[in-house]
């Protein structure tokens, strides 16, 4: 029931210090535009990404979460990005069970040189999330919480012993 026309999605982006964060920086320096809807959080490596961060982002009001890291084979801490990929895929499966559409969680491999691609993917993601509408997690819990809906009264009820 939310007014979709005024909806500006909020996407939290977890970036790796060595690649995607620099890609974002490069995009900025090269004056490549991408929507302001993304809030970037820098990690030292995508392997540092604790699934708890993603859950907290959604619970705290994010409409989408972007996770990005160095391309396979290019992580600065050996194979931590493989670990992140495994967590990402398992987390996505679990979030579907929680009613969160898979498109709200995106993985992006981006090297420090891929500023233009980073901007383009962020733009695409923001548009995808816009079309999905607000997630509004605090409402998900409230509206189903304590004194929620009264059980609808049925027309007729006969109880036979």
């Amino acid at each position: 029931m939310t007014d979709q026309t005024n909806f500006e999605p909020m996407v939290v982006g977890f970036t790796c210090n060595w690649c995607s964060y620099r890609a974002a920086d490069l995009a900025g320096m090269s004056r490549i535009k991408y929507p302001p809807n993304i809030r970037l959080i820098r990690l030292m490596c995508s392997g540092r990404l604790d699934p708890t961060f993603v859950l907290k982002a959604f619970e705290g009001g994010a409409d989408g979460v972007l996770i990005s890291g160095c391309h396979p084979g290019e992580c600065h801490y050996l194979e931590q990005n493989y670990k992140m990929l495994k967590r990402f895929l398992l987390l996505r499966k679990m979030l579907i069970q929680m009613g969160i559409e898979p498109d709200r969680l995106k993985l992006l491999w981006a090297s420090a040189a891929e500023g233009a691609r980073f901007a383009e993917e962020v733009t695409k993601m923001v548009e995808t999330v816009r079309s999905l509408g607000p997630l509004n997690w605090s409402k998900v819990v409230d509206s189903n919480g304590g004194h929620a809906t009264v059980i609808p009264v049925l027309a007729k009820e006969e109880v036979t012993a």
Binding site: M1, V141, V150
Partner: protein
């Protein structure tokens, strides 16, 4: 009220299975000590007390109330508020009360779907008129009232302040007795109580620390459900591909389940300092997935990992089996047509 000067004990159940009551009786001969020390003033499972009795007690009259069961409906919530008011020490007893437990798994679906299953679809149901429980029903004698059934199951501390948590589904008798001894010493000899909000009757280390199974580095190429494998009797179950929550679960039970060949289900709740047991478990499980050497091809890598993940059919229900109500997301999102988006 016949006051004999003894400390007053109460135990009450909300959304629960009754196992927690039995666990108290499982402290064996110590139950005689409990009876000697305490005056039992409310304990519907074993003695005849009425709501009016509790309502008539002065505030803070009950010294210790063991509260088990989750908050699933308005009656549960009312009882939580009443017992909070009447008790000096309120203990969230058992996993249901502490963190939602099995009842809170229904936070993965909607109230409507639960009713549909319980009152309409179950094979043993004969309900041709589709009668569902109503909060208000008119009968010739007047109006009958039933509690509201909430969509979201909550833990006790999500509705009232809790003094202590005693984890476990159900808590283990030696742990229960250890906690009761501390409480008895405090009430009869003025010994100190643990700080408010403490988790009592459990350890600060993982179940793995109590587990005698042999442990090596874990690399798992596929997971097995319990019926699909006959586990080696000595080796860590998780290493064999059986999901064991021991790595993400607080110890205190003595690693009962892995000792008899079943993976730990996680009933003692998250480790100290861990906010979300499911996320912790997800992280740990994902890290041990091993797809061998498939090179750096992004698509192939993803596909191989997906194949392993497909052997975990229900991650949410598995990793949050006991802690759904306490989890960060707390419940599944129900879209406006009343269905879960995942359906």
């Amino acid at each position: 009220m016949n006051d004999n000067g003894k400390p007053k004990l109460a135990m009450y159940w909300c959304a629960s299975c009754g196992g927690c009551e039995i666990s108290v009786l499982n402290i064996h001969e110590h139950i005689l000590d409990v009876d000697a020390v305490f005056d039992i003033v409310f304990f519907p499972c074993i003695a005849d007390f009425k709501l009016q009795d509790v309502q008539g007690y002065p505030d803070g009259y009950i010294d210790v109330c063991l509260f088990n069961g989750a908050i699933r409906n308005s009656e549960n919530e009312e009882m939580a508020h009443l017992l909070r008011k009447k008790s000096k020490i309120l203990v969230a007893y058992g996993s249901c009360s502490y963190e939602g437990c099995i009842p809170a798994l229904s936070n993965l679906t909607s109230k409507e779907a639960t009713f549909q299953t319980v009152y309409i679809d179950n094979p043993t149901i004969d309900n041709p008129d589709g009668i569902l429980p109503q909060t208000m029903t008119k009968v010739p004698e007047g109006e009958l009232e039933l509690p509201f059934f909430y969509n979201t199951v909550k833990s006790l501390d999500q509705v009232v302040e809790v003094d202590y948590y005693l984890p476990g589904c159900p808590p283990e008798p030696p742990q229960i007795w250890a906690v009761l001894e501390v409480v008895i010493a405090a009430l009869t000899q003025g010994a100190p109580l643990p700080p408010k909000g403490s988790i009592v009757g459990a350890k600060d280390v993982a179940v793995c620390e109590e587990c005698p199974r042999e442990k090596h580095e874990k690399t798992i190429a596929r997971f097995y459900r319990p019926y699909e494998i006959n586990p080696d009797p000595d080796l860590c179950l998780l290493e064999q591909g059986i999901i064991c929550m021991g790595i993400a679960t607080r110890g205190g039970c003595g690693a009962l389940c892995p000792q008899v060949g079943m993976g730990c289900r996680g009933c003692y709740g998250p480790l100290p300092g861990v906010e979300d047991q499911g996320a912790k478990m997800l992280s740990a499980i994902a890290s041990v997935i091993d797809v061998g050497d498939v090179g750096d091809d992004e698509k192939l890598l993803e596909q191989k990992i997906e194949e392993v993940i497909a052997t975990i059919p229900d991650p949410a229900g598995t990793f949050y089996r006991f802690s759904m109500a306490h989890s960060i997301l707390q419940r599944t999102r129900i879209s406006e047509n009343g269905k879960g988006d995942s359906e």
